[in-house]
């Protein structure tokens, strides 16, 4: 009982007590006592040494998103800490539970511009759910317990624990109590049955209802409930980018993806529905387009765990303040069986039009077309991918092409940087996703630009033998910017062409196999080899730089103003 241990050991034992068996990180001066203690804990905690702290935090995000567990990151002070700032922001905006431990200089050196000192708490507060500096070893255990509680409950998010050297090195006794309560923090709202009844009445009265499913569905494991409710009341389900895979792509009620590059039917019908049922989504501007012309004809019912999202972007008519799973289970018995066949047929009509006017030619271009486009590559990879594969994307055209064309059969199957749109997210997130779901195939689609932002993580793949399938959709351009330059800036390609290295030679330097794909007849055999191969594999696919992602709602336009190509609107 009187045993005295260092703060660093408290941290290690605390991580074990929280059930952590994997952490992502990078050592350095101000966190060395922790790394030294980690050396004694390697049988219970596997540390993944990435090649950059940004890689560590994005890997932890990928890990958390597919496993439902809290991702843990350990980095040093100063540059180590500032290198996780992008990932913290990304995790905050995309509601990903993380506990990030940063080293910090000694208490006596705080505020003196000491070597590798930075005001991490000041930096982290606006971009985290909670950030706290720890100065004494006895404060580590309660702070760590609270960190896991805050990160993983309510609307999840990242937490920073800034551990001074004094806290790491000082002695204290071991005592650990998991946190179940923080005064003033109410992660689980008390369900208000009045709200539920009002919501059910709205749903029962609706003739043209549509469900908008966001990531809140996956975060509360409500996928099956959502599907059952949609089936009972016969309601088409559209997904946000992060909501994808809440319902299988092949489900008859799946209406497609919402947003700027989403599907025609749900975007168009947003302005035709009489009721929008938003579940765990937040009406991001990429989903709504011009908010003054968004669903003005419809009633809006908003189900969310975060009360600050209500009426933030879009005025709602009714709200249920609860997590998606609780709200949907309460709604289920109150919602009548219904049929909305003519409304559903309108979705099918728009989908068929999108298929014939946009998708068919993209996925299956005429034989005479010499160059590959992203849609056909994603389509082909998705068709060959094993059951239950996870899609990881980077940001840009590759992200939209893969979100549009990848077919999902299992829940929690998409990992992408939604709100922040962080280029360079893809490769490290794919590594983390594979570690979080080792039995599932992980397919990464990335652009040549984004890939080069974090390609040092090929070293991590090499060191840990991580089996990720990497498809570089290589157009030798910053494609997404190029598309905007084409459409809105008179084809002035300012700073978007890129001279790229030989990616396959680079892969080989990391002992990763791969091949170039130049043309259509090379594509299928290459994809087959990629999936047949045990271990990581890279396809560097040469893509037509002029090819664009359509449909597209131009920025600032209403959600049902949909370009089908450069010249034609829906």
């Amino acid at each position: 009982m009187n045993e005295r241990i260092t703060g660093a050991e408290v941290l290690m034992r605390g991580l074990v007590a929280e059930g952590v068996d994997r952490v992502f990180g990078y050592p350095g001066g101000a966190i060395m006592p922790v790394y030294d203690k980690l050396f004694d804990f390697t049988s219970s905690i596997t540390h993944i040494l990435t090649r950059h702290e940004q890689g560590a935090i994005h890997a932890a995000q990928g890990y958390a998103r597919v496993s439902g567990r809290t991702g843990v990151v350990i980095v040093t002070s100063g540059p180590g800490a500032t290198n996780v700032v992008t990932g913290l922001t990304d995790a905050m905006l995309d509601s990903t539970p993380l506990v990030v431990i940063t080293g910090q200089v000694s208490v006596s050196a705080l505020g003196t511009d000491a070597f590798q000192e930075t005001d991490m708490i000041g930096l982290a507060q606006p971009i985290t759910k909670w950030a706290i500096q720890i100065q004494r070893p006895e404060d580590i255990a309660p702070a760590l317990a609270q960190a896991f509680y805050v990160a993983s409950t309510g609307r999840p998010g990242p937490v920073v624990l800034d551990l001074t050297k004094d806290a790491q090195l000082g002695l204290t006794s071991w005592q650990y109590t998991p946190c179940r309560f923080v005064r003033g923090y109410l992660p689980k709202p008390v369900l208000d049955m009045e709200q539920v009844r009002a919501a059910a009445d709205m749903i029962n009265a609706a003739r043209r209802p549509m469900i908008l499913a966001g990531q809140g569905v996956a975060l509360s494991n409500a996928e099956q409930l959502l599907i059952s409710l949609a089936e009972k009341a016969d309601i088409p389900v559209a997904c946000t980018l992060l909501g994808l895979s809440a319902i299988p792509s092949g489900h008859p009620l799946f209406a497609g993806m919402l947003g700027m590059h989403g599907n025609v039917a749900p975007n168009y019908n947003t302005n035709r529905a009489d009721l929008l049922i938003a579940v765990g989504m937040r009406f991001d501007d990429r989903v709504t387009g011009d908010t003054t012309r968004y669903a003005t004809q419809a009633k809006i019912l908003h189900i969310d765990i975060d009360a600050s999202e209500f009426d933030k972007n879009i005025r709602t008519d009714a709200r249920v303040h609860a997590d998606a799973s609780e709200a949907l289970s309460a709604l289920m018995p109150l919602v009548d069986k219904a049929e909305h066949s003519s409304w559903r047929r309108s979705f099918a009509r728009h989908a068929a039009a999108e298929q014939s006017r946009v998708v068919a030619a993209a996925v299956n271009p005429p034989e005479s077309e010499p160059l590959l486009n992203m849609h056909q590559v994603v389509h082909c990879v998705s068709e060959h991918a094993p059951e239950g594969a996870i899609l990881v994307t980077d940001v840009g055209q590759n992200q939209m092409a893969s979100a549009r064309n990848f077919r999902f059969s299992h829940p929690k199957s998409i990992v992408t940087s939604g709100a922040l749109g962080t280029m360079g997210f893809g490769l490290p997130a794919a590594i983390g996703a594979k570690m979080g779901a080792p039995n599932r195939t992980v397919c990464l689609f990335t652009g040549d630009g984004g890939f080069q932002m974090t390609l040092q993580e090929l070293g991590t793949i090499m060191q840990y033998g991580t089996d990720v399938k990497i498809v570089i959709l290589n157009n030798n351009f910053l494609g997404n910017v190029r598309q905007w330059q084409s459409l809105f800036f008179k084809n002035r390609f300012s700073q978007t062409p890129m001279l790229n290295p030989d990616f396959i030679a680079l892969a080989r330097a990391y002992a990763i196999e791969g091949e170039d794909v130049e043309s259509r007849n090379e594509l299928i055999p290459a994809v087959e080899r990629m999936f047949a191969h045990h271990g990581a594999y890279i396809l560097n696919v040469n893509i037509d730089p002029a090819a664009m992602i359509f449909p597209m709602t131009p920025p600032g336009e209403s959600v049902d103003t949909i370009m089908l190509n450069q010249n034609e609107y829906y």
Binding site: W130, P178, F181, G184, K312
Partner: protein
């Protein structure tokens, strides 16, 4: 466009370093100019109170309050208009003594404004006035004629008019919640 008016936001927090910064950046991020601010302990140990005033719209302030409440360490935030609260500011004015004496205005000013003198030296006089903004402002304007050299006004302090004590009730509720969580944890350990 919604109407703007002066709102008072009171925020109860744990007594912890850095919370004032976290709360005030919620205003600044939404480009809301904080008109005044005061921070103080409360009658409850370990609980601090911040009082902000801000010209804004109801819709904006409702969102700001919800965002403030999301911060861990913030216990509860309330939004008020002037009708809901009893409030005061305090203002200090430094004026050259000679100009007050020469003009024979000291008594008139003190009576009319219900102000008082805190210190008199040969060189200067310090006058104190508590009241609402328009009242402290009126004295400011009058003293400008007599060569006012310094003026400072505190942030607003306010208490609610409501007979019910919502924050105390909230704390009670939190204590009950904490106890029931602890009981649940103890029970699950037994099994």
């Amino acid at each position: 466009m919604q109407q703007t008016c002066l709102y008072t936001v009171t925020v109860f927090t744990d007594d912890q370093v850095g919370l004032l910064n976290q709360v005030s950046i919620v205003f600044t991020r939404r480009r809301q100019n904080i008109e005044s601010l005061s921070a103080s302990p409360t009658s409850i140990p370990g609980v601090s109170k911040f009082t902000f005033t801000c010209w804004s719209t109801l819709r904006m302030m409702e969102q700001v309050v919800k965002q403030i409440e999301k911060r861990v360490g913030v216990l509860k935030a309330f939004l008020h208009t002037d009708d809901d609260i009893v409030y005061q500011n305090i203002a200090l004015y430094k004026v050259p003594t000679r100009s007050l004496v020469d003009n024979h205005v000291v008594e008139k000013i003190l009576r009319r404004h219900n102000a008082r003198i805190l210190e008199i030296t040969e060189a200067y006089t310090v006058i104190e006035k508590t009241g609402h903004n328009d009242e402290t402002r009126a004295l400011f304007e009058e003293l400008m004629q007599y060569g006012l050299t310094q003026y400072v006004r505190s942030g607003r302090v306010a208490v609610t008019k409501d007979a019910a004590e919502h924050f105390t009730a909230f704390l009670e509720e939190q204590r009950r919640l904490e106890q029931s969580q602890a009981d649940a944890a103890a029970n699950s350990n037994d099994n």
